[in-house]
C-alpha cells in the first residue's frame, strides 16, 4: 500500500531529521530543497486549498511550484485545522518556513519568542459574524449574556469577538465561551449544542441551508472590528534564503494583483470555491466591498495601527503576558521590490490608521 509505505518512510525520515537537528544547532543551508508554507485553516477540496486570500490564487494555479521548479525546489502547502495556534506550534518546531496567519496568533507567537518577519498582507478586513440557530431568541450581541457561545480561541476572530462583546457592555466572563474549531462549531450550533457562535465566511453556507441565521455582521462597521491575515516567514529562513523569499513575495504580489481586479471577481470566487465554500458565500462575505481594498498587500498605517491595537488589547485581556513591540517586525523590503518589479507601486491605495484612504482615492482600475 503506497500510503502505508509513504507514511513509514516519511516517519523514518522525520525521525532521522529530528535526531540530527537535536544533536546540533542547524546552521543555515545553502539553498533549501523544499519550501513549506503553513496555512492557518483546515481548508478543503482536493488538492486542499483555502479561500478568502489572494494566496489561494497562487495555490490553485501552482504559481509557486512553477516559480521554483527550474531551481529544483519543491513547494509544500500544509493546512492546519487548529488554525493560528497550530501554525505557531509548527513554526516553533521549524516545521514550516512561511505561514499565512491571522493577527492575534502572530502576535501571540511573537510575544512567546517566535522569531518571524511579516512580509505582506494577504487578506485584510476580514469580517466576523455572530450566528445563532434559526429559531433562536438571541437577536443581538447584548442578548448573549449567560449563553454558551462558540469562540475559536487564539485566532484573530477571538480578539474581535471580545472587542465586540466589550462594545456592547459584556466581558468574556459574562458568556460561557466554548473553544471550538471551525468545523466543530458548525456541528455544535446546528445541533443546538451552543446558543451562538462567532465565526467567519464559513457560516454563509450553513445559513443558506436554513440551519443558522446571522445576527450580527461587522460589514460596514468600524474597520477596527475586522481581522487581518498576512504572510510571514521565519527569520532564520529569511536570513539564509533572501532570494527565495523574494520570489515567494513576487508570486504573492502577482496573485494579489490578479485578485484585486474587479474583472476577475467571479473567477476569484470560483477559485476560492474549490476549497468547499461555495461562490454564494464569497459573494456574501465580499458584499459591497472592493476587492482592491481586501486583497491589497500593502503594509500601510491602517495595518500597523491594527496590529498595535491588537497588541494593546491582547495585553489588556491577558492573552499575552508581555508587551510586544512590532517595530522591525514588518519587513517590507521584499514587498517594495516586488511592487517595483511589477510596476505596481501606485496600484493599491494606502490607508491611514482609521482605515480611510490617504492621498486621494487612487482606486484600482475597474
Amino acid at each position: 500500500m503506497s500510503t502505508f509505505h509513504s507514511i513509514v518512510r516519511r516517519w523514518a525520515a522525520r525521525l532521522a531529521a529530528v535526531a540530527l537537528l537535536a544533536a546540533a544547532a542547524v546552521p543555515a543551508q545553502a539553498a533549501p530543497e523544499i519550501i513549506r508554507i503553513g496555512v492557518a485553516t483546515a481548508g478543503g477540496g482536493d488538492p486542499v486549498t483555502w479561500g478568502g486570500s489572494p494566496g489561494a490564487v497562487a495555490r490553485v494555479n501552482n504559481w509557486l511550484e512553477d516559480e521554483f521548479k527550474p531551481l529544483g525546489i519543491q513547494v509544500e502547502w500544509l493546512f492546519f485545522k487548529g488554525a493560528g495556534p497550530a501554525v505557531n506550534e509548527a513554526l516553533s518546531n521549524k516545521q514550516i518556513d512561511f505561514a499565512y496567519q491571522g493577527d492575534l496568533p502572530k502576535i501571540v507567537g511573537r510575544s512567546n519568542g517566535l522569531k518571524t518577519k511579516v512580509l505582506l498582507v494577504s487578506g485584510a478586513r476580514n469580517n466576523l459574524y455572530l450566528v445563532t440557530p434559526p429559531k433562536s431568541e438571541i437577536g443581538s450581541i447584548k442578548d448573549l449574556k449567560d449563553h454558551t457561545v462558540s469562540i475559536f480561541r487564539g485566532t484573530n476572530g477571538h480578539l474581535v469577538a471580545i472587542n465586540l462583546l466589550a462594545a456592547h457592555g459584556l466581558a468574556e466572563r459574562d458568556i460561557k465561551g466554548v473553544n471550538l474549531d471551525t468545523g466543530s462549531a458548525q456541528a455544535a450550533l446546528v445541533s443546538n449544542g451552543v446558543d451562538a457562535a462567532f465565526g467567519g465566511y464559513e457560516w454563509f453556507k450553513v445559513r443558506d441551508q436554513g440551519l443558522a441565521k446571522v445576527v450580527y455582521s461587522t460589514q460596514g462597521q468600524d474597520p477596527a472590528f475586522t481581522r487581518q491575515a498576512a504572510l510571514l516567514v521565519r527569520t532564520d529562513f529569511e536570513q539564509s534564503n533572501p532570494a527565495e523569499v523574494q520570489r515567494v513575495v513576487d508570486v504573492f504580489v502577482r496573485a494579489a494583483r490578479w485578485a484585486s481586479d474587479e474583472k476577475n471577481r467571479e473567477a476569484l470566487f470560483g477559485i476560492w470555491a474549490r476549497s468547499g465554500t461555495p461562490v454564494a458565500s464569497w459573494a456574501a462575505e465580499f458584499d459591497q466591498q472592493q476587492l482592491a481594498v481586501r486583497n491589497s498587500p500593502l503594509v500601510d498605517d491602517f495595518i500597523i495601527g491594527r496590529y498595535k491595537a491588537v497588541v494593546a488589547d491582547a495585553l489588556k485581556l491577558k492573552l499575552i503576558r508581555r508587551e510586544v513591540s512590532i517595530d522591525g517586525w514588518f519587513d517590507t523590503r521584499y514587498l517594495d521590490n516586488a511592487l517595483k518589479k511589477q510596476g505596481l507601486e501606485n496600484y493599491w491605495t494606502a490607508y491611514d490608521a482609521k482605515g480611510n484612504p490617504k492621498a486621494g482615492p487612487l482606486v484600482a482600475e475597474k
Binding site: P85, T148, R153, G154, N179, A187, A188, V194
Partner: protein
Amino acid sequence: MSAEAELSTVLRPRGGKSAPPEAHVLPPVPWGRISRLADDALPWLLPFSLLALWFAGAEQGWISPQVLPPPQFVWETLRDLASSGDLWLHVSASLTRVGVGFAAGAVIGLALGSAMGLSRNFETYVLPTFNALVQIPVLAWLPFVLLIVGIGEPLKYILIAKAALVPVAVNTLQGFRQTPVTLREVGEVYGYSRRQQVLEIVLPHAVPTLFTGVRLGFTKAWLSLVVVELVASSEGLGYLIVYGRQLFQLDLVMAAVIVVGAIGYAIDRVLERLETAVHRSRPGASAR
C-alpha cells in the same frame, strides 16, 4: 517471605558490607537512622533532580521559554490561579463532572454486573453485546454522542459514565462468579433460600472485587475527564489545558497538568486505603 523480599535477597550482590571502623573519640555514626532516612528520601530523588534540571535549563537558556517555561513561571501561574479563585472554579467544575459521571457509571455498572452475575439468562443475552461495545473506546463514542446530545454537560457525563461503567461491571460480574464452590454447596446443604444465598454467601465474597472495580472505574473516569474536557468545555481543568495551548501559554498547560496529576493521585490514594480496609475485613480472608 514475600516474593519481592526473596527476589531482593537473591539479587543483591553477595558479600556483606564491611563494618565501620571502631570510633574511639566520636560518637558512633547512626548508620541505621541515616540509611532509613536515605531510603525514605529515595522516591523524591527523581522528581527533584528533574526539577533542578528544568530550573537550570531555563536559567541557562538551554531551553527556550516557549518550549518549556521556567518552573518559577509555572509556580506563579499556579499561584495566580489559586488567588484569583479561578483554580477553584475549574477544579470544582471538573470534580462535579467526574463525580456525576462516575456515580452514574458506577451505579449502572454495579446494576449491570450484578444482574449478569445473578442471572445466567441475563448474562447470556447481554454479555456478548456488552463485550462488543466495550471494544469501542470513549473517544470513538464522542462524535456519536456529540451528535445526539450536543456539547453540553450531558455529553461529558455520558462519556465519563461509560468509562467508569466498564471496569465496575466487569469486576462486579467477576466478583459474583468467584464465590467458592464449596461455600455455595454448604449453602445448598443448609437449604438457604436464593435470597439468603446471595446476601450471606455471594455478596460478602464479591465485595472486595467490587470495590477494586469501583476504584479502577474512578481511575478511568478521571483519565477520561481530561480527554472529554479537552474537546469541548467552557470551564474545567481540561479547558485550562486547551486554553493554554491555544494561546501558547505553556505554563498554564503545565500548571493544569500538575493539578490534574495531584488530584488524581490524591483520590486514588484515598480509594486505595479504603480498598485495603475492605479487603482486610473480608470474611475468611484467605491469602491467594
